[in-house]
Symmetry: C2
Subunit: 568 residues, 2 copies
């Protein structure tokens, strides 16, 4: 029932009929196969939204959009239907291979079936990433993005079936496809709350987050876009390209011994942190993060600046170069690596503190955090802190990767998947001021006999802007008190303020306040201020955006007060 309600709310808020003219004939047939008018408008948007999430290439799970209608629609096609509907021609893999473009048609295979999805390509909101599968098998992609294992996806696919794959070609495919690309992913701490298993995305319970100023690596939030690559430290090589002296290739040992080791305490935050609050306003596309896709660690490594200087960076380069691109060693089935870029100015700045980190909290980087080397770009959105770093490219251009160009950008609340122009917004780099309440949890109960309530949380701002104040309200924002800030794991100890523009680490905060005499419920709210006096917006709807990023409105939790029973 919960799922159904969510689907209904999608129907209510979603852009329902704006591009029905773009629905290809086969899809349109499926759409209109429902018997009642009511059902039609219900199924229509839900599978279209599902499509939107499927092949976006980000590992994004449209968890709320993917509703399971089996109980209602026993007449719909199923996996079995796909297997059985054949008196269709048989194609060789070689023949399928020739259909790899809109001009030649876009064909794919799935479990021995051949599908012409040419008409579907235009409906793919994630753009032409879908073409990566053209001429080949869908299985490797679906193995990467487990969300495809949904009956509705198969329903849609079945409408595009044009033939069967030659039996011996199918056998060859199956031999290759047996391996799970995620089989070598590392073990994870059981306390983590998993948002997606493959690729692995998980966050710690909020109350653990505010327990330690330095987040233990095991519970540091994990945000992988692809399988964790297995990297042999002995054969690991890092390449630096685009500088006058040509390509510089370094071993892990080179990185550790040729450059001074520099340590920075820096908070990383996923652009999608607190996305779940946007989902409550109107569904968005992306992992349904709570408030803990943010953590703080001590990172050590070589400064990127030092490495770039050693590779020949100088004033001449600054005349034409604008960006530094990073490529990870994590790859999808087509060999496309994760990629991102940051402004050159940040990379070469003495105060930018950008690291090629090989240690996290005093130990080798864990596998999930980029072993053996990752980029740490303090003050900058998590997505640019490329893990399992393989290549650095100094360039006049931003990274051309999907994640730089067509993801991780902010838009107006009215922009939808029909109207979005990804070129119109800058790639997120510095993040805005943020704070959230980790304790108490939403819905918690406080005993009246305790007389007071302790509220805890974190606050952080991007760009090295220091958090200077956190205001906490127990009455939904009518009155406020100023929280105590903490910048150390030592009791009562706080480090001195970092130099202006280098406040890379969060502040933990705490307020203990008397329980208001009359209240039966508290609406606890927090908001932070950074040293540029940026403040958090009050509410979520005006900052809602279709990807659910940059969710930094005041954080609110509601707590019930339980009256002392002995007095009643």
């Amino acid at each position: 029932m919960l799922l159904l309600r969510r689907c209904h709310s999608l129907t209510r808020f979603g852009p329902l009929n704006t591009h029905s003219h773009r629905v290809a004939p086969a899809a349109a047939r499926l759409w209109s196969s429902s018997s009642s008018e009511d059902q039609k408008s219900y199924h229509g948007p839900s599978w279209r939204h599902a499509l939107a999430g499927l092949l976006a290439g980000t590992g994004a799970v449209l968890a709320y959009g993917l509703c399971h209608h089996k109980a209602e629609r026993d007449d719909t096609p199923t996996v079995q239907t796909i297997e059985k509907t054949s008196a269709l021609p048989i194609f060789s893999q070689e023949e399928v291979n020739t259909h790899r473009s809109l001009e030649d048609g876009v064909w794919v295979t799935y479990k021995g079936g051949v599908y012409d999805i040419t008409e579907f390509v235009a409906m793919h909101p994630g753009g032409d990433k879908i073409l990566l599968a053209a001429g080949g098998a869908l299985e490797p992609f679906w193995a990467l993005y487990a969300v495809h294992n949904q009956e509705h996806v198969l329903e849609i696919l079945s409408e595009y079936k044009v033939g069967e794959l030659k039996a011996e070609d199918l056998k060859k495919q199956q031999a290759v496809q047996t391996a799970d690309p995620y089989s070598s992913d590392p073990e994870r701490h059981p306390v983590l709350r998993i948002n997606n298993l493959k690729p692995f995305n998980a966050e710690p319970p909020p109350e653990l987050l505010s327990d330690s100023y330095i987040t233990p690596s095991a519970i540091f939030f994990k945000r992988n876009h692809l399988p964790v690559p297995q990297v042999d430290p002995a054969s690991y090589r890092l390449q630096v390209e685009g500088l006058p002296r040509g390509v510089l290739t370094m071993s892990l040992e080179d990185l550790k011994t040729r450059f001074p080791k520099h340590t920075v305490t820096a908070t990383l935050q996923c652009a999608g942190n607190r996305r779940s609050e946007m989902n409550k306003v109107k569904l968005v596309k992306g992992l349904n993060w709570g408030i803990a896709a943010i953590s703080n660690a001590k990172w050590s490594g070589a400064r990127l600046r030092d490495v770039l200087l050693a590779a020949g960076y100088g004033p001449d380069v600054a005349k034409w170069a604008v960006h530094v691109q990073f490529e990870g060693l994590d790859k999808d089935v087509t060999g496309t690596t994760y990629g991102a870029s940051i402004p050159l100015r940040k990379a070469v700045s003495e105060e930018g503190d950008v690291l090629l980190a090989y240690e996290m909290n005093g130990e080798d980087l864990p596998a999930d955090h980029g072993y053996p080397v990752r980029v740490v770009v303090p003050g900058t959105v998590g997505a640019r802190n490329v893990k399992w770093l393989g290549k650095i490219i100094v360039s006049a251009e931003e990274s051309s990767s999907h994640w730089q160009q067509n993801d991780y950008k902010g838009f107006s609340p009215m922009t939808d998947w029909d109207t979005v122009d990804f070129k119109s917004a800058p790639a997120i780099q510095e993040l805005p001021i943020q704070s959230a309440i980790t304790v108490p949890a939403d819905g918690a109960v406080v005993d009246r006999s305790l007389n007071e309530v302790t509220v805890k949380g974190y606050a952080w701002s991007g760009g090295g802007r220091e958090v200077v104040r956190v205001d906490v309200s127990l009455d939904g924002g009518k009155t406020w008190q100023v929280a105590q800030l903490r910048t150390s794991d030592k009791e009562q100890a706080s480090e001195p303020s970092p130099p202006p523009g280098q406040a890379w680490a969060w502040k933990l905060w705490e307020v203990t306040a008397p329980l208001p005499a009359e209240a039966q419920e508290l609406e606890i709210v927090c908001k932070a201020v950074d040293n540029s006096y940026n403040m958090q917006p009050d509410t979520v709807p005006p900052i809602w955006n279709l990807r659910g990023v940059l969710s930094n409105a005041w954080h609110r939790v509601t707590v019930k007060i339980r009256e002392d029973e002995s007095e009643e």
Copy 2:
């Protein structure tokens, strides 16, 4: 009636009885002299708030707080009362001079009367600035800050009277005091809306502001703290202190010829811009600025960085120095100059673009804008852009000036003048994201027959963060549209984006939208986003602060739609 209502609202919202224990005996007597209980609580806070504004040394006018009660209180003491109440001892100026501290007592003279204001000093919210007058005459201070010419001030003063000044000393004083320190202030453009005459503070009408990308100097907002000094360009000398080579002294000619001329288009904004919106929530102390205490100009001059390098700045200095202080040539009667400081890092950064400007919009700086030399600190609050620059001091410390230490800082909405600790907040440097609607004006009427409405405004962010989007709503924030941005005075032309972190100039914006069919009134709202994706807060009350600075909530204007009469 309007004034009276304002006073009442002050009574309602103000911190009424929280520090009555601190009221000195004489003041307490005055307070309790009102006949009814009702009147007591009414007069109490209003004169106490008035006191708060009087001697703060910022030229701040508590326009709303200073209510004129003559009609209600004909029995209160007046100027004449002060002149007449004497059978008091006679003191020489020499004797008065000996009372210049809390230990020796704080005495002042006014129009031949001698007053012991020792007990009042502790009640002075502006801190010990009041001691500048100790041992001498009040008249020179009151001439600077015209707000003192209020009957209530004299009422309060009269309670502290202890004697009369010797007749011949009074004559000497009067001979000195005849000159008006503002008599040499320049002529100003009549279109300016004056918030305070002495010192001069004025803003242009909003609709003129959005007419030109580069604000003409004549209507560029004026924010003076003191009289405009008369500076002879031939004898002008700029001193640079605190560097290893000793004091560097430069003429205007030196500045123009020894250093490359650098031009920057930069927006300056007063920290108090849009303070009037905070005043509507709860009265604050400060000039009641509208939305136009912001303007954009083209500034030319020597880079501060180049001057500091010439004066001996180098890595050794960076080891101990943290701030660069500026002193203006504008002085109060005690010789105290206007002063402020900025972080050294900003001052010496190649990308910081800090100028010692001698031109504004291609001409010599106008007298109101700092002739012959001012500092322009792009991305930084107006108050640090010191005009009539006399001295630069490289230092380990911030400027000790009142304006750096005890003004221009932000606080929680619950902080009042009893609880404020100015040391607890950082001096404002970079300003947060800002935008406002210049056209239509609040309360304007739009004809239904026009079918559409055009909304115009400005948007800017501090720290060189570029405005990337402005959202405009006609329905109070329920739905939004994205405005067109403009970065040039040429029609349809926009300059390319500046390098990241160097977007010093505002963007003008415009939206033309159809009039909603049913609406009789539009609540037009704007909000801007910068490239760190900082957003403006939704509402004013949660960011309200006792000085009314940093007022950057969504800007709202209400417009009525007049139906076409021929159709009715």
